[in-house]
Structures are given as structure tokens and as C-alpha cells.
């Protein structure tokens, strides 16, 4: 770790101001950023902690019926508080990392980081979520722009994430044996007007929608609708833990399982 200063603003406005300092970086739960700093792979001069900002905490349902989760909400809180309202999302949050990670890591940090193997991006994309920042609202379809890349501008903070709640949903993560991040993770969300299938862990381009599966499921939301359908292995990640073909195969298996288990 290199030396840095820490700012602990209590409002979004103060956080934005602090992030205006040279080489400042937002600090959420630190579950990704702190290990990076320890390896000396990043050297921000100021860390702006977002954990003391009350406006970024809390989970509510707005007038339009959207489930609004504060950007600073920790995974453990989401797992508990949305269990009744949005079990698919709660199940996802409940299986991120271990209890220590879940009690620190935040939804905003996870989405901002957009790790190609992270879980939340699949939920946001499959649920047609809206990512709310200090300056604007970004549709999930526009937010994720490839591995570790998002639509966020320098210094922009995710303050809230708004999820339409599907009629049925399920996320299934097939764990990479070492990290237990998603080797492949599939989030299936069934809405009145269609089905969305988002896949994480598999692609060199980060989270993506498997549109062929969505089309097949739109008319018949059952595993059998996916019979004979396979995801393309082109552009899939190949590493120590699995070939591109294996990942493509898992996309099919997990999608079927997610559909069968959706509630």
C-alpha cells in the first residue's frame, strides 16, 4: 500500500466535492479496492469513503413500484431486506463471497467495478435496472461496457439502483473453485412483457444478455424451451478454470436450472 489520505463525507454533495481532488477515488466496502491497494496496483492520493453517507443507505419501494437500493448498501443487508420482495436478488447477494465480504462490500462498488465474474451486474442487466448517480440515471443496458468498464464518468458516484421486480427470477452461480466468484452465473428474470437472461463470468466482454434464450423463453417459460439452444463459445473466457466451450456449455445448463428454480 502507498500512503493516502481518507475523507469521510456525510453527504453526496461533499463526496462529489472530495472526489474533485487530484487522484481521489471512491471507497465503498473496500473488498476490491483495498486488496488492489495492498498489492500496490493503484495509488490514489485520497480515498473518499462513501460508507458514512446516509442518503446512500436504505432500501425502499418507490411510487412506481421499483425496488430502490441505496448505492452504499452492503450485500448482507440486501440479502436480508429484499428476501420477501425480490428473492432472486436476495439469493444472489446472499452468495457473494463470505460473511466478511458481505458485511462490507456494497452494491454500488460491485456495479462500478464491473468485474467480468461479479454477480450483481447480471442482476442489474436481467432486471432492466436503472443505475442512479449523483448526476443522472443510466439504464443497465447502457451501463456495462465490457470488462471493468462502465458508463460512469470520472468521480461519478452510484447513489442508488432501481430494480423493477420481476414476476419470477433466479440467479444461479457456478463457482470458480478458487475464488468462488462466478465461473458462469446466469440471472433469469420473467416480466409480464418478456424474459431477460443475463450472463456473467463467461464472456471476454463482461456481462451480456443471451437474447436467443430470452426469445425462446418469452413464449414458453420452461427449461424445455431451451432444448437445442446453445450459447456461442466465441469470445468466451478461457483460463485455468475452464475453456470457452465449457463456459458456453454451462450457460445453457445454468439457464435451464435458473428457469426451473425461478420464483
Amino acid at each position: 500500500m502507498y500512503a493516502f489520505e481518507v475523507e469521510r463525507p456525510t453527504s453526496i454533495a461533499d463526496a462529489v466535492a472530495a472526489l474533485g481532488r487530484e487522484d481521489a477515488q471512491a471507497l465503498g466496502g473496500g473488498q476490491t479496492l483495498i486488496p488492489t491497494l495492498k498489492q500496490r496496483l493503484a495509488s490514489p492520493s485520497v480515498l473518499v469513503s462513501l460508507t458514512g453517507i446516509a442518503e446512500m443507505q436504505g432500501i425502499r419501494t418507490d411510487d412506481a413500484g421499483l425496488l430502490c437500493i441505496g448505492g452504499g448498501s452492503r450485500h448482507g443487508v440486501v440479502a436480508k431486506e429484499v428476501a420477501a420482495n425480490y428473492p432472486g436478488l436476495a439469493g444472489l447477494a446472499a452468495h457473494i463471497g463470505d460473511p466478511a465480504v458481505r458485511n462490507r462490500g456494497t452494491i454500488g462498488g460491485s456495479l462500478a467495478n464491473n468485474d467480468p465474474s461479479a454477480c450483481y451486474p447480471a442482476a442489474a442487466l436481467a432486471s432492466k435496472a436503472t443505475i442512479v448517480t449523483n448526476t443522472r440515471e443510466i439504464a443497465a443496458d447502457d451501463f456495462f461496457q465490457g470488462m471493468f468498464t462502465t458508463a460512469l464518468e470520472e468521480g461519478e458516484i452510484i447513489t442508488e439502483v432501481k430494480f423493477p421486480v420481476p414476476q419470477a427470477s433466479c440467479y444461479i452461480k457456478f463457482e470458480q473453485p478458487a475464488s468462488r466468484f462466478a465461473l458462469v452465473g446466469v440471472f433469469v428474470a420473467k416480466f409480464a412483457d418478456g424474459v431477460r437472461v443475463a450472463v456473467t463470468g463467461a464472456s471476454n466482454n463482461g456481462v451480456f444478455r443471451w437474447t436467443e434464450a430470452e426469445a425462446a423463453l418469452a413464449s414458453n417459460f420452461s427449461p424445455s424451451a431451451l432444448e437445442g439452444l446453445s450459447a456461442s463459445a466465441d469470445d468466451m473466457i478461457a483460463d485455468l478454470h475452464g475453456s470457452a466451450a465449457y463456459r458456453a456449455h454451462l450457460v445453457g445448463v445454468l439457464t435451464k436450472r435458473a428457469v426451473a428454480a425461478a420464483k
Binding site: 500512503a3 457456478f174 478458487a178 475464488s179 475453456s243 456449455h249
Partner: protein, 788 residues
């Protein structure tokens, strides 16, 4: 009735009180006034020539005390190898220099190039970044067979090639084995990889060097399994410090698994540098450094052929193994694939003819050395896999095929130079069939299949040579040290006892188990006895803990010393009771005179030894302290039979272990609970090797791909099932006084083949004609195997 004290009692591990309450005192807890910190600048390329190092900028950084490079170690010895292997042409192995800091070349990612000693760790790290190193990158050799091709890049320029040695064993049997294989009714051939592992003890390595100018004394506090071995190697071979001026202390150590046996560059560095800068120097490994600097384990590529006659009796075994040494020879690297591996190739079977050829190869990877089991897991894996394959090819039951070929008469001289003293392989297999409920497997398989899962059952046997080792024998085989051990029993005036032992406890529970033995012998409470270990200034001598040797070798020394104590105490008791020494009996802490009601308590005798007012001073010295050295006359041969039962998800290739059973014969047992714990831990490591752990290097660049827990999968609690372990089959060792065989490595030796045999059984039950799968059998590998 289970006993509640002494030999055979499951006494609670007394050391756990401090470990579980955060009161352990580990090397990193040692902080000495005036201490400095060292950070090593390590190579980030696998192979390269250092063309220049400029430390001037680093030297002027804040807090820097001194910057060291290889130049500072010119003329100082390199790290030695403790075992000289002679190859099949009678030539000694190649022993390239292993400098403390790189000289001229870097040979693996993590090879230390320079070291910054500074007031704080952060300052040392900052300054290390300011060192300018130019490295001309050279092609890296990673794959062993490619490393042996002519024209391959050479890890060591002064050697003819990358071959360390080409060992044949038993060379005289080679032709006979070839003939027997050629004339066998059936030959089963298998090529396999024994995957490279990172030991990953919970506590990373730490070294604190300290030098006292007033008495010219150097002290090294280090995370070692064997402080005397480190004193010997570092004092005599590297730094040239005589024993009386060098103290090595290994306090609480958080797991070793073999990787803390060896003498490492960082230990020599901290000792050397503390003398140079006249201040203590401390190094604490990060987990990332551990991945690239702790000696790694296994990494064999083997071809094995098993010959059988028309009645399925084994006729001969022929093996060819490539053993990876890494970039340098670590302390016991050469003996692991040879004498700890070739001598075990008979396994539990009466195969009359055996030959193995082992080619040890230098590559641009982290050095490889002994890791829990060391050579014996590699031997067991290949034997037990090839037998399973033979059974499938011949359509016979794999348990039946094993039973048919079991050694049943003891002592048994194998064709690979060792003599098993005792064992009962039929008994452990019978026990295994019972505790694993093998009879009920078919019904469980049917149930799994109903749920769309494949179910597999795998069995294997193992034999190991423990209680390392008879010094004379290992001396003939190339060991550069004796492998006896020592203990001093110091009885205090009030009867309490401190036992100074050469064995080092880093998780094994010696502090509990060793007193149980002495308590049993003297008939006094266990809590009257404490164990002292891990400090060359406190213990007589000792070769440390590895090879399941602590109780069998050091425990035997302790028994011998205690016997001397009893003899002397009886003399004192005889004097006190005015009786003949021959009539004195010791029972339950009381000395009595046979046939009388006279008695004197243990404490009265010990007090008399230290307050010798009424004492036979003309015959014996005051005091009550005895030392014994014990050199075993043979190895011990624990054995057993293991069974793994698992479910395999044919859609994803994921394997889940449902049941795991182990029937072991460890001879006599001192503390059954501790023994079970050792087996549990060993099996977890074996399952880790079989299903999860994979130390992988990029085949082109030599970069370590599995360099952190993000990519190196350690077994977690939910990866392993509840185990059924049984050690009621006991054929005591015939040549040590306790009749014990050792249990520390069995679990890790005996479990990988059972797991892989079970995976293959599951696959074949589902119609997938898969003959072998390399470890770790990850979901992606299993799935790929199913695709044909």
C-alpha cells in the same frame, strides 16, 4: 473403557488453549528493540540475465539502512542440498549454486535479486521500487520433457543440460523387469501427472535475525519444523558460524506440511544482514511471496506399467518418472522422488520385480521439495491408479484384485530395498469394507441415478515408510546428516518434569501426546509434565518433525531417557527404603518394595535427588536429569485402506464427495483423538490435491498463473464430507519401544487415488469410457473428459 490419562487416552490438546485464545507466540509476534525490516525485490520474469543493478537511488530513500545485492554474498556459501543422489551411471547429481541473492541470473519468478533493510517495512518497499534492475530476458523452460530436449534454454549455464540426475532403481533388476513385462499375460499402462501443489500453511514464513556484538552471538527466530537442521545447514554451509555462536529458535509455528523443513535464503539473509547492520532484521512473508518462494510439492510426470499373469497375479512394475526440481535444489529435493518414492513402489503387494527410472529436471519454476507425504503419495497414486485401471481392463473387482496380491507374511523384504516389519492389509481392507458400507453402495448409486447424478466408489491401499530414519542406512543412500533424535528428561525437585525434545510441534499436538507417554511410564499426572521444543539453546539436539517421525524417533528417545530416570530413581528409592534396588517397583507414582508395605512417593524421591541429605552420594550423582539419543533400526510402515464415494453431476462435471472412509494401521496409539485429527487434516489435503489444488505456470513465460487464492483453490470445510476414520487395526512396530508407526502423512498419501478412482467409477457407470483423469479433477476437466 477408554482411558482418561496416559497412553491411549484422548487427552484434550493443551496447546489449543493458547492457539484458540489468540495467545500463541509466533515468529511474527517477536519484535526486538531496534529492529529493522527487510523487503526483497524479486524477479518478475522466470529466466533472465541481470545486466545491471543500480541501488543508488534506493540507498538515499528515507529510512533506508542498507541495500544488499548478490554482490554482498560473493564468497559466501549458497543454500546446500542435504541429500546426494547418485545416478544410474554412478555419477553424482548436479548441484548448481543456489545463492542467497541472485548472482548474474534470475531463474524463477520470485527469485530474490536485492534486499532493502529499512526502518519500516513501507520504507523498505518504497526503496525497493527505486532499485533499477536491467534484466535481459531468456527463454523460460517450464515443461520437463521440453527442458530435456537438446537446444533447450539452460537454467544453469555451467551445467551441460537441465538434467539433475537420471536415477535407476533397482538398476540390477532392470532387465529382469523388462523381461517379466514382456512375458506378462496382461500389461496395463498408464500415463499420469502428479500435480504441483503449494503447501500454504496458515502462517506464512517469517525470519528475524539478531546479532549481539558483545558475545558474537547470532540468533535466528524462524518458522521452522527443525531448528537444529537450520542451525546445521546455515551455520556450517552458508554463513560459517560455529554452533555455539548460533542459536535458532522456532517458536509456535502455524503449520508446516514440509515446506518449513528447508533452509531458505531469507533465513540466511536476516542472520547475515543483522550482523552487517548491527541491528535485528525482520522479514515477514506476504501470502503472495509465499506462492513464489515457499518450496512447492509433487510435480511428477509418470508412465507406469503393471504386468499380470493369467491368474491376475502381479508380475512386475516398471515406471518412468520426470520429477521437477524447479530452478534450484531445495534442501531435500533430491531424496523425495528417489528414496522416498522408489522404495515404496511395492505398495501393499507382492509384486516380485520392480524398476523405476526417475529423471530429475531443472526448470524455471519455484523449487520443489517434500510436501506432506513426500514421494510416498506419488508412489501410492501411480500404483493404486494402475491397479484400478488393470481391474477395469480385466473386468475384475478392484478390491478383489488388490486382496489377491496383498503381502500377507511379515517381515516382508520388498524388491525395492526395504523390509516391512508388520502389517495386516487384509484386516484394514475388511475394516474399510465395514465402515464404508461398501455392501450398501449399489442402493446408494441407484438413488443418485434417480436424481440424475452419477455415483462412484473408489478404493485404494497405501503403505508408507515413516519414522525417518536409520542413520546408517540413509547415510549409504546419500543423506548428509544422521536422522536420529534426542530428548532430555529434566525432573525438578518437586517431581514436575520438563522434557526437552528435538521434535518440533507445529500443529501435531506433541505438547499433549508426549507427556502422556511419560505420565504412563511414571504413573504421575500428565499436567506434571511439560514439553520444551523449538530452541537450539534449550534442547539437546534434534532433527525435527517431518516424515511422521516425531513419536517414532524422538518419542523413542524420550522413552529411553525416561527409562534412565526410572533406573536412577529406583536407586534413590531403594536407599530411602533401605531395600535392594532389584525389589523396587514403580506404580502409580509410588515406589514400593516387593512383598512389603513400604512405599515412598515419586515426589519424595525427586526431592531427595535435589536435597541429597539422605542420599547415596557415594554411588550416584545428585539431580535427576537424563538425555537419550535414539537412532531407529528401520523405518516404520503404517498402512491402510481408503474409500471415497462421490456424486458427479453429468451436466456440469462437478464432483461432490459424499462419504470418505479411512481404515489405518498406525501400530500403537498414544492419543486417538489427535490421530483422528491428523487423518482428517491429511485427507482434506489429499482431497484438495485430487479435486482442487493446481499450481500452474504459463508454459511459455514461466509466470505463475495460480499466484493467489483467486486462482489457487484450497479445500474449504464444505468441500469435504464428514469422515469415517478407524484405527483399530493395530500391528505394532516391532523395533521401537512404543510400537508406534506415525500418522502425520497417511491421510494425504492415502486419499488422492481413492478420489480419482471414484471419479472414474462414476464416469464409467454413466457410459463414459474414460481411463484416466489428471488431478485436480475440476468440473471443467471432468466435463472435457466426458466429451471424449
Amino acid at each position: 473403557m477408554p482411558k482418561d490419562t496416559g497412553i491411549g487416552a484422548s487427552s484434550k490438546r493443551r496447546e489449543d488453549v493458547r492457539f484458540l485464545t489468540g495467545n500463541g507466540r509466533y515468529t511474527d509476534d517477536i519484535n526486538i528493540y531496534g529492529q529493522t525490516y527487510v523487503h526483497f525485490l524479486r524477479s518478475d520474469v522466470a529466466h533472465g540475465r541481470i545486466t545491471s543493478i543500480d541501488t543508488s537511488a534506493a540507498e538515499s530513500m528515507p529510512g533506508v539502512v542498507r541495500v544488499f545485492t548478490g554482490k554482498d554474498f560473493e564468497g559466501i556459501g549458497g543454500l546446500p542440498c542435504g541429500w546426494l543422489v547418485t545416478d544410474k551411471h554412478g555419477q553424482p547429481m548436479k548441484e548448481p549454486a543456489h545463492p542467497v541473492l541472485a548472482q548474474g541470473k534470475v531463474r524463477h519468478v520470485g527469485d530474490p535479486i536485492a534486499a532493502v533493510v529499512a526502518e519500516s517495512l513501507a520504507e523498505a518497499r518504497d526503496a525497493a521500487e527505486a532499485i533499477m534492475v536491467d534484466i535481459e530476458e531468456l527463454p523460460a523452460v517450464v515443461d520437463m520433457k521440453k527442458a530435456l530436449e537438446s537446444g533447450a534454454s539452460k537454467v544453469h549455464d555451467d551445467l551441460a543440460d537441465n538434467l539433475c540426475f537420471d536415477w535407476g532403481f533397482v538398476e540390477e533388476n532392470r532387465e529382469a523387469v523388462d523381461n517379466a513385462i514382456a512375458n506378462s499375460a496382461h500389461v496395463t499402462t498408464l500415463e499420469l501427472v502428479n500435480n504441483r501443489l503449494v503447501a500454504n500453511p496458515m502462517e506464512p514464513r517469517v525470519a528475524v535475525g539478531e546479532y549481539n556484538r558483545s558475545d558474537d552471538m547470532s540468533t535466528l527466530h524462524t518458522t521452522s519444523q527443525n531448528p537444529h537442521v537450520i542451525r546445521l545447514l546455515m551455520g556450517a554451509f552458508v554463513l560459517g558460524i560455529p554452533e555455539h555462536k548460533l542459536r535458532v529458535v522456532a517458536p509456535d509455528v502455524g503449520g508446516g506440511f514440509g515446506t518449513k523443513i528447508f533452509h531458505y535464503a531469507e533465513e540466511a539473509f536476516c542472520t547475515f544482514a543483522s550482523r552487517q547492520v548491527q541491528r535485528p532484521v525482520k522479514w515477514t512473508s506476504t501470502r503472495s511471496e509465499a506462492f513464489m518462494s515457499d518450496a512447492q510439492g509433487r510435480d511428477h510426470v509418470t508412465k507406469i506399467e503393471l504386468g499380470l499373469d493369467a491368474d491376475n497375479n502381479f508380475t512386475a512394475l516398471r515406471c518412468l518418472t520426470y520429477a521437477n526440481m524447479g530452478a534450484y535444489l531445495s534442501t531435500f529435493a533430491s531424496c523425495t522422488p528417489t528414496w522416498l518414492h522408489g522404495t515404496l513402489l511395492a505398495g501393499n503387494y507382492k509384486t516380485p520385480l520392480i524398476y523405476t527410472n526417475v529423471k530429475a529436471v531443472f526448470t524455471n519454476t519455484v523449487p520443489v521439495d517434500a510436501y506432506r507425504g513426500a514421494g510416498r503419495p506419488e508412489a501410492t497414486f501411480q500404483i493404486e491408479r494402475v491397479i484400478d485401471k488393470a481391474a477395469r481392463e480385466l473386468g475384475v473387482d478392484p478390491i478383489k484384485l488388490r486382496r489377491q496380491n496383498f503381502i500377507t507374511e511379515f517381515p516382508y523384504a520388498t524388491p525395492v530395498a526395504v523390509e516391512y516389519d508388520t502389517g495386516d492389509y487384509v484386516a484394514t481392507m475388511d475394516k474399510l469394507e465395514e465402515i464404508a458400507d461398501i455392501a450398501g453402495f449399489a442402493a446408494r448409486r441407484a438413488e443418485s441415478e434417480k436424481n440424475g447424478k452419477l455415483r462412484g466408489l473408489g478404493v485404494n491401499c497405501y503403505i508408507e515408510a515413516c519414522g525417518i530414519a536409520p542413520s546408517k542406512l540413509v547415510g549409504q543412500l546419500g543423506a548428509r546428516a544422521g536422522l536420529y533424535d534426542a530428548a532430555t528428561v529434566r525432573v525438578n525437585a518437586t517431581g514436575s518434569i520438563s522434557v526437552m525434545v528435538g521434535a518440533h510441534s507445529h500443529g501435531q499436538g506433541h505438547e499433549t501426546a508426549f507427556p502422556q507417554v511419560v505420565a504412563e511410564m511414571l504413573g504421575i499426572p500428565e499436567d506434571q509434565i511439560d514439553i520444551v521444543h523449538g530452541d537450539t539453546s534449550k534442547i539437546p539436539f534434534g532433527m525435527g518433525t517431518y516424515g511422521s517421525r516425531s513419536l517414532a524417533v524422538c518419542g523413542s528417545a524420550m522413552v529411553r531417557a525416561t527409562e534412565k530416570i526410572i533406573n536412577k530413581a529406583k536407586k534413590i528409592a531403594a536407599h530411602l527404603m533401605e531395600a535392594s534396588e532389584a525389589d523396587i517397583e514403580l506404580k502409580n507414582g509410588q515406589f514400593t518394595v516387593a512383598g512389603t508395605d513400604k512405599s515412598v512417593a515419586w515426589g519424595d524421591v525427586t526431592l531427595a535427588a535435589y536435597v541429597p541429605h539422605n542420599y547415596p552420594l557415594e554411588d550416584i550423582e545428585p539431580g535427576l536429569e537424563e538425555t537419550a539419543f535414539y537412532d531407529p533400526s528401520n523405518f516404520t510402515y503404517p498402512s491402510g485402506a481408503y474409500c471415497c464415494e462421490l456424486e458427479l453431476d453429468p451436466e456440469t462435471g462437478k464432483v461432490t464427495i459424499e462419504r470418505f472412509s479411512a481404515a489405518d494401521d498406525f501400530g500403537n496409539i498414544i492419543n486417538p483423538m489427535i490421530v483422528s485429527g491428523q487423518v482428517h487434516g491429511g485427507i482434506a489435503q489429499g482431497i484438495g490435491q485430487a479435486l482442487l489444488e493446481n499450481c500452474a505456470y504459463d508454459p511459455e513465460t514461466g509466470q505463475l498463473l495460480s499466484a493467489s487464492y483467486m486462482d489457487y483453490a484450497m479445500p474449504r470445510a464444505d468441500d469435504v464430507p464428514f469422515y469415517a476414520v478407524d484405527h483399530s487395526c493395530q500391528t505394532p512396530c516391532t523395533h521401537n519401544p512404543l510400537g508406534v508407526k506415525g500418522c502425520g502423512e497417511a491421510g494425504a498419501i492415502g486419499s488422492p487415488p481413492a478420489v480419482i478412482n471414484a471419479v472414474l467409477d462414476a464416469l464409467n457407470s454413466g457410459g463414459h469410457k474414460v481411463e484416466h483423469i489428471n488431478m485436480p479433477a475440476t468440473p471443467s476437466r471432468v466435463w472435457a473428459a466426458m466429451q471424449g
